[in-house]
């Protein structure tokens, strides 16, 4: 693999120890890594180096992570993965609303981070291209052209709302979707606070897609933030 083909990742964190960890881990996963310790530095580096992805800490000394995300979104579509400490769900939602693509709680597992980075990069590549017509994750198969959903090759009948909800998940598979994002996508702008409505439909959708073991849920709850459709290897059965 030549150097130019290595995806380039900008790591933004004010903690040198975290930057060091990420540089090593991501470096050995054959990514090219830049570091920034402040928000302003991060914005400048995105402008000059055009990284393929940004890993962004929320607590920065100058600009907050939200501001960085907002500034970047004014002219860049670079995928942003937010790193945040636990007990800051509101901050995560805010960051996602500011344009971040995904988040990971600190302390995080490197394997999880690498998976998120791969998913985000894949989405970044697919941007602007037509999506696959068939989506698959574990036992779930969604034919977006025929509007057909099946689990373990058994057809599942969904209400129009449930189908729209599933479609919203499929469109951003693997990525966390906030409550208000889902509500706006499926019900429209006036419904962004109706979390109860969302919960009922998610619960129905989950029931229809079949109970999976607690380890491998298809639609995972991200406490206090939203939901995520997991990308699982296609079921062999």
């Amino acid at each position: 693999m030549t150097e130019t083909l290595q995806p380039r990742i900008l790591v933004v964190d004010d903690e040198p120890a975290v930057r060091h960890l990420l540089k090593n881990c991501l470096g050995s996963a054959s990514y090219q890594v830049f570091e920034a310790g402040t928000g302003q530095q991060a914005v400048d580096l995105v402008r000059t180096k055009h990284p393929d992805l940004v890993v962004l800490d929320l607590g920065l000394p100058d600009l907050s992570g939200f501001e960085v995300a907002r500034i970047l979104r004014e002219w860049s579509a670079v995928p942003i993965i937010v790193l945040s400490v636990r007990n800051a769900e509101e901050d995560i939602v805010k960051a996602l609303d500011c344009g971040a693509d995904d988040y990971l709680n600190k302390p995080f597992g490197v394997r999880e981070l690498l998976a998120r980075i791969r998913a985000a990069l894949r989405r970044g590549e697919g941007l602007g291209q037509s999506k696959d017509e068939i989506f698959q994750s574990g036992p779930l198969m969604v034919d977006l052209l025929a509007r057909q959903v099946s689990v373990n090759h058994h057809s599942v009948s969904l209400t129009p709302t449930e189908y729209d909800l599933l479609k919203a998940f499929v469109r951003d598979a693997g990525r966390v979707l906030t409550h208000s994002h889902l509500l706006r996508a499926v019900w429209g702008n006036g419904f962004s606070e109706e979390i109860g409505l969302l919960r009922v439909n998610i619960s129905n959708l989950r029931r229809k897609l079949g109970k999976s073991s607690s380890q491998h849920q298809l639609i995972v709850t991200e406490p206090g933030v939203g939901y995520r459709l997991c990308l699982l290897p296609p079921a062999s059965a």
């Binding site: 007990n87 769900e89 109860g196 919960r199 619960s203």
Partner: protein
């Protein structure tokens, strides 16, 4: 200056002597003149009793003159035929003066006795009211009220309490409030006492002494209370620090141990050992993370900075998500979940109730024998939902049950833990308006339950 109140008693004295003369006049010839002296003595005593020494002295002198003029022949002149009457005059005068002295003294004593009693009552009432006062403010108000009755308008300023001493206000007479050990402040009075009025100054001094003593007593008891509180909170901090530093260090031991043995090239680890070390270190980091989360939550609960954002939540989702996040920690322990069909949404702050479930599950896992299943049972109760976590642990004795949900209380000290889990769970549930508790179930399991309210139908 002659004023009506000072002149009036003398006028009464003159009138009484006149009255005695009028009464004696018709008795001329019936009574021996010397016996009429008795009438005049009566007038002198009466005057002495009611109007004091001066008027009665006047009455005594007037009596002698009137007796001479009206009853001693030759009448209506000051001349005296019989020189024996001079003895009568002298007797009347001396007796009159003496009686007036004695009566006046008796009167004076009666008055001062009454005044002393009044003072004593004032002081008694003051001490009673001061004892009732609970705050310093109440105490000062009470003192003010009692002083007010006797000494006009009152201003009390305490040392170190902000108010500047208005020294220059000459309308006030200032008295120091001296406690047994230090000067406490000053009291200003608009109706000053003069050094000559001994009784008033004595009363004032007694009142001020009582007020100072009460103030100082109050200050002492406040100080004692503060010291006690401080000691209690220091105790708490010590316990917290001991407990936390211990619990923070334990996971670090495994983590550091694993890392150093991996770093050391001289140690040849089998793949299995490597894996086991790493898995252990990993689960310890999770434990550390949960511990820090608990500490943070406790601080929020304690400081009242916890905001509960209760929104409709799917309890099943909450339970499943919590179990997924605890999967590694529960080490393959079987957890049964019983849910009633058609479980309504609950009103909850998802993240906080997740923590409640986490803490209760951790507790069940920690205190029940390995390999025995844990059950999460949910029940509909009127307008609420009860969640109960049941484990097969040993029954808890009453002493344990009583302090189960208190901070830093641990079921068994041979298990690691801060004793914060249950108290935080209870605090979080109560912040939702629910209840949390413990009961021994009918099938002899330990049940830790909490309630949540149902969300409105969507």
């Amino acid at each position: 200056m002659l004023t009506w109140p000072t002149v009036r008693p003398y006028l009464f004295a003159i009138l009484l002597v006149g009255f005695a003369t009028l009464v004696g006049e018709p008795l001329r010839g019936i009574l021996n003149p010397t016996n009429k002296v008795m009438l005049y003595l009566a007038a002198v005593v009466t005057t002495a009793y009611f109007w004091g020494r001066g008027p009665s002295n006047l009455a005594a002198v007037l009596s002698v003159l009137a007796f001479n003029v009206f009853f001693v022949p030759p009448t209506f002149t000051f001349a005296v035929q019989d020189w024996e009457y001079l003895i009568t005059f002298l007797g009347l005068l001396l007796t009159g003066l003496l009686v007036s002295q004695l009566t006046a003294i008796a009167k004076q004593q009666a008055i001062s006795a009454q005044a002393r009693e009044e003072d004593a009552l004032t002081l008694l009432a003051l001490s009673r009211d001061l004892a009732k006062a609970e705050t310093e403010e109440e105490l000062l108000t009470t003192a003010g009220q009692h002083l007010d009755r006797r000494f006009g308008e009152i201003r009390i300023s305490l040392k170190g309490k902000g108010e500047q001493l208005p020294e220059k206000e000459s309308s006030y007479q200032w008295h120091k409030l001296k406690g047994p050990t230090q000067e406490l402040g000053q009291v200003g009075l608009t109706q000053p006492t003069s050094p000559r009025d001994q009784r008033r100054s004595q009363l004032l001094e007694a009142i001020l002494n009582q007020v100072s003593a009460a103030l100082e007593r109050r200050a002492f008891s406040e100080k004692a209370q503060q010291t006690e509180l401080l000691e209690a909170s220091e105790e708490l901090h010590r316990a917290l620090l001991n407990s936390i530093s211990h619990d923070l260090r334990i996971p670090l031991v495994s983590i550091r141990g694993a890392l150093t043995s991996l770093e050391d090239r001289d140690i040849n680890l089998s793949d299995e050992a490597r894996h086991s070390l790493l898995a252990n270190a990993l689960s310890e980091t999770d434990r550390l993370n949960r511990l820090v989360g608990n500490l943070l939550q406790m601080t929020r609960l304690e400081s009242g900075h916890l905001t509960v954002k209760a929104i409709p939540c799917d309890l099943e989702d909450l339970i499943v998500t919590t179990l997924a996040s605890l999967h590694d920690h529960l080490l393959g322990r079987e957890v049964e979940v019983t849910l009633p069909p058609e479980l309504p949404l609950v009103l909850a702050d998802y993240v906080l109730i997740q923590q409640v479930l986490t803490n209760l599950l951790e507790n069940a896992h920690k205190y029940s024998p390995a390999g025995q299943p844990v059950e999460i049972a949910t029940r509909l109760l009127g307008d609420g939902i009860e969640v109960e976590i049941l484990d097969c642990g040993d029954p808890l004795d009453e002493e344990h049950q009583a302090c189960l949900f208190q901070r830093f209380q641990r079921g068994r000290t041979d298990h690691p833990g801060t004793g914060l889990g249950l108290s935080i769970a209870k605090g979080l549930v109560e912040a939702h308006g629910g209840q949390a508790g413990y009961r021994r179930s009918k099938d002899h399991r330990n049940g830790f339950f909490f309630t949540l309210s149902k969300a409105e139908e969507v």
